[in-house]
């Protein structure tokens, strides 16, 4: 079940350092939203506040509200572990569990969430691997270690692992930055398919990628090194790349800085 994300007045800290300040935005269900901006502008930090991974970092804390449909993820009654079960995440570097087989990697999240019959589990694993366009490549070696796959395959394995638990939202933190162009293309095609079922937020350094895969694009920037990152604007991707309303966005898009 894809859900809407509604962020208001969100500020995140690393210890006493303010990493991002006063961010508000809405992400529609079944859409792809891309975050772009220079290094250190806080887009990854912001992404990690959406599934409460930011506070795992020593000193990390957050002020403000993140509503998933109508539920505030930062309400005191909410267990961060439960949040992460409904908001999946794919990381910059593919990180399958090296000690687990391909099958067990995909099943890992399911086994955390409850008990499944073996046939049920196999069905979901197959469906998730198909969903990640990986099934045909690995169906004959499901019990081989996941770390034996190529980088692009590993990243698709991580996507399969994330979607196996049917999250409401899928966060992707530069999922293609460690991959070659062919594997990148495979992931981008996959994102296009996944948005039918999930709300997707993707951080990327590659502006062409943002233009290719996303419906809406958010541009983040920071005034100077050490200053907190801010959301400059968020709009339809087409508009951001053709006729942004803020000069700084246009400067960044056209390569005048960053």
């Amino acid at each position: 079940m894809a859900k809407r994300i509604d962020v208001s007045g969100l500020t995140a800290y690393y210890g006493s350092h303010k990493a991002i300040e006063d961010i508000s935005m809405t992400v529609e269900p079944r859409s792809v939203t891309a975050f772009i901006g220079p290094s250190g502008c806080g887009k990854s930090t912001f992404l990690r506040t959406l599934n409460r991974m930011h506070e795992v970092t020593p000193g990390g804390r957050v002020e403000g509200k993140v509503l998933l449909d109508d539920e505030n993820l930062y309400a005191s009654s909410i267990d961060p572990v439960a949040v992460r079960r409904t908001v999946g995440m794919v990381f910059q570097r593919p990180n399958p569990f090296p000690t687990m087989s391909i099958y067990d990697n995909v099943a890992a999240g399911l086994r955390l969430n409850g008990s499944y019959r073996k046939s049920e589990l196999s069905e979901i694993v197959e469906k998730s691997l198909k969903g990640a366009n990986l099934w045909n490549e690995v169906k004959d070696r499901l019990n081989k270690p996941g770390s034996g796959l190529s980088g692009g395959q590993q990243q698709r394995l991580c996507i399969a692992r994330a979607i196996a638990v049917e999250p409401d939202v899928l966060l992707m933190d530069e999922p293609c930055s460690a991959l070659d162009p062919i594997s990148t293309l495979a992931i981008e095609d996959l994102i296009g398919e996944l948005k039918e079922r999930f709300t997707i937020v993707i951080v990327t350094h590659n502006m062409q990628q943002a233009a290719r895969v996303s419906d809406r694009t958010a541009f983040f920037n920071l005034a100077a090194v050490g200053e907190p990152g801010k959301l400059i604007e968020i709009d339809e991707t087409e508009r951001i790349f053709s006729n942004p309303s803020v000069q700084a966005t246009e400067d960044y898009i056209s390569g005048r800085f960053g």
């Binding site: 991974m53 999946g88 990180n95």
Partner: protein, 334 residues
């Protein structure tokens, strides 16, 4: 975590290659290189020579006395190696060594892994420093001090535990207590557990520290609790490290001499109950008997030392085999 490492950082400069001198078929070797090569190669060969010499000497001395042994070296429950003909066997020693070490491992490894996990994944940074330091201190205590502490403090305080074990587990036979002084293999095992705790803890802690953050975040992002993160990413990654740490500890337990000799009340028997005094270990037997041994008696002790050496080798080999069997699933592939 470091979120600043982006893909757009500049690649490292290519390594500088020293070109061969034109015209020469092989690179010229400088004097410094030649001296260093000779030194390092010489050290390596010297080490092998010393090892071989020790092994030959021990095997030779052992062979002399084994030829004269009137008992069966493997099964005789007696150690009269100074007599003529000598009668001695290692059965009691092998049993005592293995049993006390196994007890030590059973107690120490779970505790050590627990401490290591606490220090790396639960304790606040302010606390983990001092605790780690205290554990290092534990490793710095000389073994004779452990022995004295064992016999003066531990032994007099074990009657309660022995009585409890006897009441609830006496029916097993192996934890049946007749009421003798608790200077048994079991007490030795407890003492050895304390002694090997620091090394097992320290090695495990280093291994757990090296678990890549990426693997732990992978588990976290799936909605794992802290314990589930440990079970899914930390323990599997650290498995071979825990085995290595245990083997280091086991090596120390197998060879521990002074502490065992101080605490154990030795006797050349094998008791079915671990709580009854008596028994012995290889190292303890050598230490206790060496001063009064004739040349022939020394040879017999050397023979027993060789057996300890073989046991240690076997244990290490087994550990390596366990690690190698699951190599492709190990964290080294990550």
């Amino acid at each position: 975590m470091d979120i600043s490492t982006k893909s757009d950082t500049a690649p490292p400069p290519p390594p500088t290659v020293v070109p061969l001198e034109p015209g020469s078929r092989r690179p010229s070797v400088r004097l410094g290189d030649r001296i260093f090569l000779g030194l390092s190669r010489g050290s390596g060969i010297l080490l092998l020579l010393i090892m071989a010499a020790i092994a030959c000497f021990l095997a030779y001395r052992a062979a002399l006395v084994l030829a004269k042994n009137d008992g069966n070296f493997l099964t005789t429950f007696e150690w009269e190696a100074n007599g003529d003909p000598p009668v001695f066997g290692i059965a009691v020693l092998a049993f005592g060594t293995v049993v006390s070490s196994v007890i030590a491992m059973v107690i120490a490894v779970p505790v050590a892994v627990g401490i290591a996990l606490f220090l790396t994944h639960y304790a606040p940074r302010k606390l983990s420093g001092p605790i780690g330091y205290a554990i290092d201190l534990l490793a710095a205590v000389p073994s004779i001090v452990y022995g004295l502490w064992g016999v003066l403090v531990l032994v007099p305080h074990l009657n309660g535990l022995y009585g409890w074990l006897d009441t609830y587990f006496g029916w097993t036979g192996i934890l049946d207590w007749q009421g003798g002084a608790p200077r048994s293999l079991f007490t030795v095992g407890i003492l050895l557990a304390i002694m090997i705790l620091p090394i097992v803890t320290n090695v495990s802690r280093e291994v757990f520290r090296q678990v890549p953050l990426a693997h732990q975040e992978a588990a976290l992002a799936l909605g794992a609790t802290r314990w589930e993160v440990i079970r899914m990413s930390v323990l599997p990654f650290g498995r071979s490290g825990i085995i290595s740490a245990s083997m280091l500890g086991l090596g120390r337990a197998l060879g521990e001499t002074m502490a065992v000799a101080t605490v154990l009340s030795p006797e050349f028997v094998i008791r079915t109950s671990l709580l009854d005094p008596g028994g012995g270990t290889f190292a303890q037997n050598i230490a206790s008997k060496f001063s009064e041994a004739t040349v022939q008696g020394q040879d017999a002790l050397i023979a027993s030392g060789l057996v300890l050496f073989v046991i240690t080798l076997l244990v290490n080999g087994a550990a390596r085999a366990i690690i190698a069997r699951r190599k492709e699933y190990s964290g080294a592939n990550a």
